[in-house]
C-alpha cells in the first residue's frame, strides 16, 4: 500500500455525481458540517454555512460495506473527529477538517448505533464510544484508540439492544445508560467512576430491567429540556415515559400503514416523530407528560391507547422529488451553542440533503395542520450540475456527443503504466486508447492544446454493440501474455480480443448468456493451457476460461444458482473455486470443466468476500497511476490520478543519468535512439534482451505503421508527468513575475479552475475533494478576507488554505520536485526535447482523430540553462518560505510539524531535504511562543525524564529534532517507549 510513499491523488469526477444512497447522518455540534454515510460505504462531508447552505466538500473512501452509523468522537472544538461503522464491523476514526483517517479497527460484530459520551474519571473527562448492534451487550470503546474497554451486559434475558440513550443525572452525578432490547425490555446501567476507570473486560451488569412492551423499538431519546421524560419510538406507536421510574405517561399509535422510524424532543412540551416515508409530525404533549404541569403523572397506570395529542406541524416530503428507492434517514438536531439551530435534517437515496428550521412558536389553531416549508435542499447531482465550469471527466473532450449535453460515459477503464496509456470503454460500446498525461493536461490545464480539435491523439476501437463493462490488459498482470492483447467484455454478452498496437479486432468470444461482469487473469502456476486464458464472469452466473492462444473457450462453468461474487484459484489441484452471493461455493476442474464439489456454507467465504470488496487502488512504483473508481456498479467511472513523488523523482534522475552526451553518439546508438522513439520504453528493454527478434520486430513495426499511425508514444512520459504535476501544485497568482517565469521559461501551465486533490491516510483510507469543494472554499475565504473572491482568484494558491495535512503533502512534493528539476540539464517543459520523436509530416489517409500539430505550435528555443535553474530555485524558495507571507495567515493552513518530522529521515533524499527545509522554515515562522506551545503539546507523550530537558527553554530546537526522527502520533501513545529509548541514545552525553 501507500505506506510511507508520498502519493498525491487528483480526481476527475466527471459530470455525474457518484451514487450516494444515504444510510446514516450526523450534524456536528457547532453546525459547521453535515456528514452522511451511504450504502456503498462512502462518507460525504457537507460544509454547513450560517445561512444553512450545504455545499458538499469531500468524500471519504475506506469502508468496504454499507455505513450503519456515524457519531462524533471528540469533545474539543479545535479538532473535529467523527467515527464511522460499517455493516461488516469496520470502524474508522476521521478528522473532519482534512478527511484524514486517524485510526481504524475491525470487530466481528456490526454496530447499528454509536454514541459519544464523556465520562468523568476523577478530574479528567475521558471520551468514550458506546456501541450497540447485532450483539447482546453495549460495548464501551475508547474514543481515540477504538479499543474495547468494557461491556455493559444484561443478566436478565439478554438480547440485542435496539436503541440506547445516555443520561447525566444532576442529582446523583452519575451517568446512566438507558437502552431497550429487541424484545422490548428496558435496561438501565449506571456508570460510576469506578466503572469508567476499569480497564479489563469485566462485564458491568444492569441496574434495572423492566419490560415496557416496546416491540421494534426504533429510537429512544431523553428530554434535555426537563430531564424528566423519555421518548421511545417504535414502528407502530410512540410512547413517553417518566425518566425517573420508567412509568408510561402516554402512548400514541401510528396513522394508517405508516411506520415510525424515530423521534426526539424539540422543546419541553413538544416532540417530533418521523416516518419511514420521510414525513415528520410535531405533536404537543398532553399535560400528563409535562413535569411542569399539575397533571404530571396523572395518567400513570391508566394511559389510554389511541388518544392522539394535537398535531402542530406536518412536514411532508416534497411532491416534486424523484422517487426514492429506500426509506430516507431523518435526524433532529438541536445545537446548544450559537446559533441555536433547531433543525430537522433528512438524507435520502438520491444523495439529497433536506433541512427544515423547526420553529419554537406554536401557530394559532387552524382548520388543517400547517406544513413547514423546507429551508434548504440539495442533492449531490444538483451541486455538480451547478458548477461552472462543469466538473471534467478524463476524456470528456473526446466523448462529446453531437446534440447532447452529456458526454458519453466511461464505463470501464484500465491504465497501462508502461505505455502511459489509458484504455476507456464507454457506454456506446467504443473503446478509446489515449495517452493519460496528455488527456489529463487537457482536462486540468490551460494551454495551446485547447485550440486543437480531437486532441490528444487517440485511437478508437469499435466492436461492442453496447456498453463496455470491463477491460483487461493481461500483459500488465503477467508477461506470459502477448503484449498486444487487450481484452474487453460488454453487455452484449461478448468478450473481444484486440491488438492494442494496430487496433485490430482479433477475436470475438460469444460463450456467455449474460452481460460480462468481470475479466480476470489466472495465477502463474496453472497448467500451461490455462495460463494462456483469461477468465470471464457473466451475469447469467457462468464462468468461462477463454484461451487467447487457441482462440476458443476451454471451459464454461455454468448452472450456478446465484450471482457469482468471487473467483479463487487452486492451481495445484487444477481447481477453480466459484463463490456465489448466497455463500455457496462451487469447485470446478479447470482442464476438464467438470464440477468436482459443491460445498455450500464454507467458512472461508467470509474471508473471500472481504478480499473481493476491497476496491481501493493498489499502488505500484509508477510515477503516475490512473485508477478508475466507481462508488456503485451502476455509476460511470471516475478517475483518480495518483502521483508518486518518489517515483517521479527517481524516473527524472534515471533519465538524466541516461541522457546521451550529444558529442559521443555513435552510429549504433543512433539507430537505438531511433528505435526508442518509436517503441515504448518497455519494448526497448525487451529488444535489447532479445536481439534475435529484431528483424521480426522491424517487420511488425512496418506493418503497424502501414495500418495506422498511432502517435501515442511520441511524448516524454516522465517530463509530461512532471509538467502536469508541477502545474497542478504551484500556488499560482501570488507572484506575477514567478508565474510568468513558470509559464514561459519552465513551460508549466495554469489550471482551468481549482483542482480536486485528495489525501491518502492510514491503511489506504482516502479522502477525495468533490468538485464542489471550491464553492465552500471560496465562501470561507471570502468571509476571511472580507471581499468577494472569484474562482480564478483561488486557482493554485487556494489549495494551501484547505487543510494542514494537504498543505504539508503539497509543499513537500512541490519543493522536492523543484529541487530535482533544478539539478537536471534542460529541465524545462517547453522545447523540442519534450517530444520523443522527430516531427513527421502528417500521413495521408490518416483518420480524423490523428493529430495535426507542428504548424500552429511556435517552436521557441529553450531558454539557457542558468535561467531555468534559477526559475526552479525561485519556485522552491517561494513555496518553502514565502508562502505564509504572500498568502496571508487567514488563507494559509501551515504544514503539520509531525508530518514533516516523519519525513526527516525519508528514504528519498529529495523528499528528506524538502522536509527538513520546510520544518526549519515552519519552526522559524511560529516563533518562540509557537515552539513552546508545540513542546507543551507533545510533552505528555514523552517519558518523564525528558521533561527536564524540554523545560530548558534555551534549547527548544534540540527537542524538536528528537521528535523528528521518530514517528510520533498523538493517538499512538504506545510508541512512546520506542521514542524514549531512542531519545536516550541521542541525548548528549
Amino acid at each position: 500500500m501507500s505506506g510511507n510513499n508520498l502519493v498525491l491523488p487528483i480526481v476527475l469526477w466527471g459530470r455525474t455525481a457518484p451514487t450516494h444512497c444515504i444510510s446514516s447522518l450526523l450534524v456536528l455540534d457547532d453546525c459547521s458540517a453535515v456528514i452522511t454515510g451511504c450504502h456503498d460505504g462512502q462518507i460525504c462531508l457537507w460544509d454547513m454555512t450560517p445561512e444553512l447552505q450545504v455545499p458538499p466538500r469531500a468524500m471519504l473512501f475506506g469502508h468496504t460495506s454499507s455505513i450503519t452509523c456515524l457519531a462524533k468522537a471528540n469533545a474539543c472544538t479545535d479538532k473535529q473527529y467523527i467515527v464511522s461503522a460499517s455493516e461488516n464491523g469496520e470502524m474508522c476514526l476521521w478528522d473532519v477538517n482534512d478527511g484524514r483517517c486517524i485510526e481504524f479497527s475491525k470487530l466481528a460484530c456490526a454496530h447499528t448505533d454509536i454514541q459519544f459520551y464523556q465520562f468523568t474519571i476523577g478530574t479528567q473527562r475521558e471520551g468514550r464510544l458506546l456501541c450497540n448492534g447485532h450483539y447482546p451487550e453495549v460495548l464501551v470503546l475508547d474514543a481515540s484508540s477504538l479499543e474495547v474497554l468494557y461491556s455493559l451486559v444484561s443478566k436478565i434475558s439478554p438480547d440485542w439492544i435496539s436503541a440506547m440513550s445516555i443520561i447525566r443525572s444532576h442529582r446523583t452525578q452519575e451517568d446512566t445508560v438507558v437502552a431497550v432490547s429487541v424484545t422490548g425490555i428496558l435496561k438501565v446501567w449506571i456508570i460510576t467512576a469506578e466503572v469508567s476507570r476499569m480497564q479489563d473486560l469485566d462485564p458491568v451488569f444492569e441496574e434495572e430491567s423492566k419490560p415496557i412492551q416496546c416491540q421494534n423499538c426504533q429510537s429512544i431519546s431523553f428530554c434535555h429540556f426537563t430531564q424528566n421524560s423519555l421518548l421511545v419510538v417504535c414502528s407502530k406507536y410512540w410512547r413517553v415515559f417518566d425518566a425517573g421510574d420508567y412509568s408510561l405517561l402516554c402512548s400514541v399509535p401510528s396513522e394508517a400503514d405508516q411506520g415510525w422510524t424515530g423521534g426526539d424532543f424539540i422543546s419541553a412540551d413538544k416532540v417530533i416523530v418521523w416516518t419511514e416515508d420521510g414525513c415528520s409530525y410535531i405533536y404537543k404533549l398532553p399535560p400528563s407528560c409535562l413535569s411542569a404541569s399539575e397533571h404530571f403523572r396523572s395518567d400513570v397506570g391508566k394511559t389510554r391507547e389511541g388518544a392522539v395529542p394535537p398535531l402542530i406541524y406536518k412536514i411532508a416530503d416534497q411532491p416534486d422529488k424523484k422517487l426514492l428507492i429506500c426509506p430516507p434517514v431523518t435526524r433532529f438536531f438541536f445545537s446548544r451553542r450559537e446559533p441555536f439551530h433547531k433543525l430537522l435534517i433528512q438524507g435520502d437515496s438520491e444523495g439529497r440533503l433536506s433541512m427544515w428550521n423547526v420553529p419554537d412558536s406554536t401557530p394559532a389553531p387552524q382548520h388543517s395542520t400547517p406544513e413547514l416549508p423546507v429551508s434548504c435542499t440539495l442533492s449531490l447531482q444538483e451541486s455538480f450540475d451547478g458548477l461552472m465550469p462543469v466538473s471534467s471527466g478524463i476524456i470528456d473532450q473526446l466523448s462529446a456527443q453531437p446534440g447532447k449535453e452529456q458526454p458519453i460515459k466511461v464505463t470501464a477503464s484500465v491504465y497501462i503504466p508502461a505505455q502511459g496509456r489509458l484504455v476507456c470503454g464507454r457506454e456506446d460500446g467504443s473503446i478509446i486508447l489515449v495517452p493519460a498525461t496528455q488527456t489529463a493536461i487537457v482536462q486540468l490545464l490551460q494551454g495551446e492544446h485547447m485550440l486543437r480539435r480531437g486532441w490528444p491523439p487517440h485511437r478508437t476501437l469499435r466492436g461492442h454493440r453496447n456498453k463496455v463493462t470491463c477491460v483487461l490488459y493481461p500483459y500488465q498482470v503477467s508477461p506470459r501474455y502477448d503484449q498486444r492483447a487487450l481484452v474487453s467484455g460488454g453487455v452484449d454478452f461478448s468478450v473481444i480480443v484486440w491488438d492494442i498496437f494496430t487496433g485490430e479486432m482479433k477475436h470475438i468470444f460469444c460463450v456467455h448468456g449474460g452481460e460480462i461482469t468481470q475479466l480476470l487473469v489466472p495465477p502463474e502456476n496453472c497448467s500451461t493451457r490455462v495460463q494462456h486464458c483469461v477468465c470471464s464472469v457473466a451475469s447469467d452466473h457462468s464462468v468461462g476460461l477463454l484461451s487467447l492462444k487457441e482462440r476458443k473457450c476451454i471451459m464454461l462453468a455454468s448452472r450456478h444458482l446465484f450471482p457469482i461474487q468471487v473467483i479463487k484459484w487452486r492451481p495445484a489441484d487444477d481447481y477453480l473455486v466459484v463463490g456465489c452471493s448466497d455463500g455457496s461455493v462451487y469447485v470446478w476442474q479447470m482442464d476438464t470443466g467438470t464440477r468436482s464439489h459443491t460445498r455450500p456454507y464454507l467458512n472461508l467465504l467470509c474471508v473471500l468476500y472481504y478480499v473481493l470488496q476491497g476496491n481501493l487502488p493498489k499502488y505500484s512504483h509508477n510515477a503516475l497511476v490512473v485508477q478508475a473508481m466507481k462508488t456503485n456498479v451502476s455509476d460511470p467511472d471516475m478517475h483518480v490520478l495518483f502521483f508518486d513523488v518518489e517515483a517521479v523523482i527517481i524516473q527524472l534522475l534515471t533519465e538524466e543519468a541516461q541522457r546521451p552526451n550529444p558529442t559521443l553518439v555513435s552510429p549504433r546508438a543512433c539507430t537505438r535512439i531511433f528505435k526508442q522513439v518509436k517503441e515504448t520504453m518497455k519494448e526497448t528493454i525487451k529488444e535489447h534482451l532479445l536481439d534475435d527478434d529484431e528483424e521480426e520486430e522491424e517487420e511488425q513495426r512496418r506493418r503497424e505503421e502501414k495500418s495506422k499511425s498511432l502517435s501515442l508514444l511520441e511524448y516524454n512520459l516522465t517530463m509530461d508527468t512532471a509538467k502536469l504535476f508541477m502545474s497542478c501544485l504551484h500556488a499560482w497568482g501570488l507572484n506575477q513575475q514567478l508565474d510568468l517565469i513558470c509559464l514561459e521559461r519552465l513551460g508549466m501551465l495554469r489550471p482551468h479552475c481549482p483542482i480536486s486533490f485528495g489525501l491518502i491516510s492510514r491503511g489506504g483510507h482516502m479522502s477525495l475533494m468533490l468538485p464542489t469543494f471550491k464553492e465552500s472554499l471560496l465562501r470561507k475565504l471570502s468571509v476571511a478576507t472580507g471581499r468577494k473572491l472569484t474562482l480564478s482568484d483561488i486557482v493554485g494558491k487556494g489549495t494551501y488554505g484547505l487543510s494542514r495535512a494537504v498543505t504539508t503533502q503539497h509543499l513537500l512534493s512541490v519543493i522536492s520536485l523543484a529541487n530535482t528539476l533544478m539539478g537536471m540539464t534542460n529541465a524545462t517543459f517547453v522545447g523540442e526535447h519534450m517530444k520523443k520523436a522527430p516531427t513527421r509530416p502528417p500521413r495521408p489517409g490518416g483518420t480524423p482523430e490523428s493529430p495535426r500539430r507542428g504548424s500552429s505550435a511556435p517552436q521557441s528555443s529553450p531558454p539557457p540553462q542558468a535561467h531555468i535553474k534559477q526559475g526552479w530555485s525561485q519556485l522552491a524558495a517561494m513555496h518553502c518560505v514565502m508562502l505564509p507571507d504572500l498568502l496571508g495567515l487567514d488563507k494559509y493552513r501551515p504544514p503539520l510539524l509531525e508530518m514533516l518530522a516523519r519525513r526527516w529521515q525519508d528514504r528519498c533524499l529529495e523528499v528528506r531535504e524538502a522536509a527538513q527545509a520546510l520544518l526549519l522554515a515552519e519552526l522559524r515562522r511560529i516563533g518562540v511562543s509557537g515552539r513552546k506551545d508545540t513542546i507543551d503539546l507533545w510533552a505528555p507523550y514523552l517519558p518523564q525524564y525528558v521533561d527536564t530537558v524540554s523545560s530548558r527553554e534555551s534549547r527548544p530546537m534540540k527537542i524538536m529534532k528528537f521528535n523528528q526522527s521518530q514517528t510520533l502520533d498523538l493517538t499512538q501513545k504506545k510508541r512512546t517507549n520506542r521514542v524514549a529509548s531512542s531519545l536516550r541514545s541521542s541525548l548528549p552525553s
Partner: protein
C-alpha cells in the same frame, strides 16, 4: 422510431408495471410466509413469559441429555468417560446458570428483522421502481444470509476466552451450533509447570482445538490433553436452514428479473 417498436415498448412497460404491482407482491407474500414459518421455529419468548417456553430435550449421543429452552441450555445431564481412566465425568448446570446459545438468538433476530422489512411493504404498498424492489430484496437477503451464516459458522474461540467450565478445574466446556447440530466439546487440560522448557505456543482461535494446543489463563499455562466432542441434531434448526435456502431463491430470482 417506428411505430412497431413503440407498441412493443408500451407492452413491455405494461408488463413491467404488472410485475411491480402483482408479481412482486406475490413473491413477497410467499417469502413472508416462509420466514414466518422459520421465525416460529425460534420460539420467540414474549417478555415476562420466559418460563412458559417450551422445553426440548436432546440426547447427546450416548452420553447424556441436554435441555434447550428458547435459546438457552437450561439443564444438562452428561456423563463422559475420561480417557486413560475409568473415571466418569458428570456434568450438570447450576440451577441459576444457563448456557445461552448466542448463535440461535442472533439468527432469530436476523430473521425477525427480515420479516419486519417485509411487513413494512405489504399488499397496500405500491412499488414504483424496480430499483426500489432490488434495494428491498438486497436488505432482506442480507439479513437472511447473516442469519444462516450465524448458524453455519460457529464463532471461533481462543482457548482462554472460551467460557470456563463448572467446577472441575482441569476441564473446559464449549457448546455451539454448527449447521443444525448442537455440539459440545470438552477439553481435558493438563497444567504446564510455570517455567517449562517445552516450547510454549499459544493456540489461536479455532472452533475445535486439538490435543496439544496450549494457552495461558490467569498466569497459568495449560495444555489440552484430550478432546471429547459430541453432537446432536436439532430438527427445527435444520428446518429453518432449509427455509432460509428456500427463501433466498425467490428473493434472488425476483431480483434478477
Amino acid at each position: 422510431m417506428s411505430s412497431a417498436s413503440q407498441v412493443e415498448r408500451a407492452v413491455l412497460e405494461e408488463e413491467f408495471n404488472w410485475l411491480l404491482r402483482e408479481e412482486v407482491h406475490s413473491v413477497l407474500k410467499q417469502l413472508q410466509d416462509v420466514l414466518k414459518e422459520a421465525s416460529r421455529r425460534f420460539a420467540m419468548p414474549s417478555p415476562g413469559l420466559e418460563s412458559q417456553l417450551k422445553q426440548e430435550n436432546f440426547i447427546l449421543g450416548s452420553e447424556g441429555v441436554l435441555t434447550l429452552q428458547g435459546e438457552a441450555l437450561t439443564q444438562a445431564d452428561i456423563n463422559l468417560k475420561m480417557a486413560k481412566s475409568s473415571q466418569v465425568l458428570h456434568f450438570q448446570f447450576r440451577d441459576d446458570k444457563h448456557w445461552k446459545l448466542q448463535q440461535i438468538q442472533d439468527a432469530r433476530n436476523h430473521v425477525n428483522q427480515a420479516l419486519h422489512l417485509l411487513n413494512c411493504r405489504d399488499d397496500s404498498y405500491h412499488f414504483k421502481t424496480g430499483a426500489e424492489v432490488n434495494k428491498l430484496m438486497d436488505a432482506v437477503m442480507l439479513q437472511l444470509t447473516r442469519a444462516r451464516n450465524r448458524l453455519t459458522t460457529p464463532a471461533s474461540l481462543t482457548l482462554p476466552s472460551s467460557p470456563p467450565s463448572a467446577d472441575a478445574g482441569d476441564v473446559m466446556v464449549n457448546f455451539y451450533i454448527n449447521l443444525s447440530k448442537l455440539c459440545l466439546t470438552v477439553y481435558q487440560l493438563h497444567v504446564l509447570p510455570p517455567n517449562t522448557t517445552k516450547n510454549f505456543k499459544p493456540a489461536g482461535s479455532s472452533v475445535l482445538h486439538n490435543p496439544g494446543a496450549m494457552f495461558e489463563l490467569n498466569n497459568n499455562r495449560f495444555e489440552v490433553s484430550h478432546v471429547h466432542k459430541v453432537e446432536c441434531v436439532l430438527p427445527w434448526l435444520s428446518d429453518t436452514l432449509v427455509f432460509f435456502t428456500i427463501s433466498l431463491q425467490p428473493a434472488s430470482s425476483s431480483k434478477t428479473r
